[in-house]
Point group: C2
Chain length 172, copies 2
């Protein structure tokens, strides 16, 4: 079951860091790809591609001008993360049992009504306001059942070796 992430409504001036975090979390926690709509941002794409180059793996970022067309022609299941949705802890096993590829949508400031309709699942991580980065993290961790934390990223030039104190980086 492959997971892609779609970040809606990116605005360069306001969202650069948040959207970059969304992309890096998608990569680190087992998604194979991030798409984003809104404003095209070559700087953000380059940041993400630089991480892939240095740290390995095959993660990709791509701009999606028309999310509407993309969502209507796509196969697999759509999971929309929203504070208004059903609790992740009640729904994640049902989503896993479908054994389908999924697209996880994380919204920007204003999510169009259509997204709620097009989504197979509207899912919340608590019904409190917090962060799309946090919602994505917890969804992916629960969807992959923790296995994603052990994922390796072949082909990069940098590997961190976990330490109790201090920093150990190996260059390949």
């Amino acid at each position: 079951m492959k997971v892609a992430v779609l970040r809606l409504g990116h605005r360069i001036s306001r969202d650069k860091r948040i959207s970059t975090h969304v992309a890096l979390v998608a990569r680190a926690l087992g998604a194979y790809k991030i798409l984003y709509s809104g404003e095209k941002d070559s700087g953000m794409e380059e940041s993400v591609n630089n991480v892939v180059r240095q740290w390995g793996g095959k993660f990709r970022i791509s701009y999606q001008k028309s999310w509407r067309h993309f969502l209507k022609t796509r196969k697999g299941r759509i999971v929309h993360l929203t504070v208004y949705g059903m609790p992740v802890q009640d729904m994640v096993n049902k989503i896993k049992r479908e054994k389908k590829d999924i697209l996880v949508i994380v919204g920007g400031e204003k999510v169009p009504w259509e997204i709620y309709e097009l989504a197979d699942y509207n899912i919340s991580v608590t019904s409190q306001p917090h962060s799309e980065i946090a919602a994505l993290s917890i969804f992916l961790d629960r969807f992959f059942g923790g296995q994603e934390l052990k994922k390796t990223f072949p082909g990069g030039s940098i590997v961190v070796v976990p330490q109790e104190k201090g920093k150990k980086i190996v260059e390949r």
Copy 2:
């Protein structure tokens, strides 16, 4: 076991949104308090306090000018989240078994060496670069074992009622 969060090195111009997300995630996922060092930011404090007022609970935010003094005089355990630390999945049960209050430290751009030394645990959520917001989320979710997702927040004026499609907000 109470959990507080300390965000190091806040810079108003660059970190406002990221630090606000850190604070809101701390609140939503069961911490009782966030402290932050770096630049004092009344705007951020107000944003967080507004969420508490509207959405309930007793979460607090406070500025900590000297993290060094604060850490040295504090009781409980210090958990520092860093890409260089030991894997969260291997360490979280050990931390829970101590049954101590904890302070979770999330860094900014450059974390002083002393923090690695002062921390009882340096913990990583994957050894890949991603987001302090994601690391905090996954640490809290695993530390509280998912119970934090059911937390209620008494006293606010807004409650979201989870829906399969659409938005339902009840005002109290």
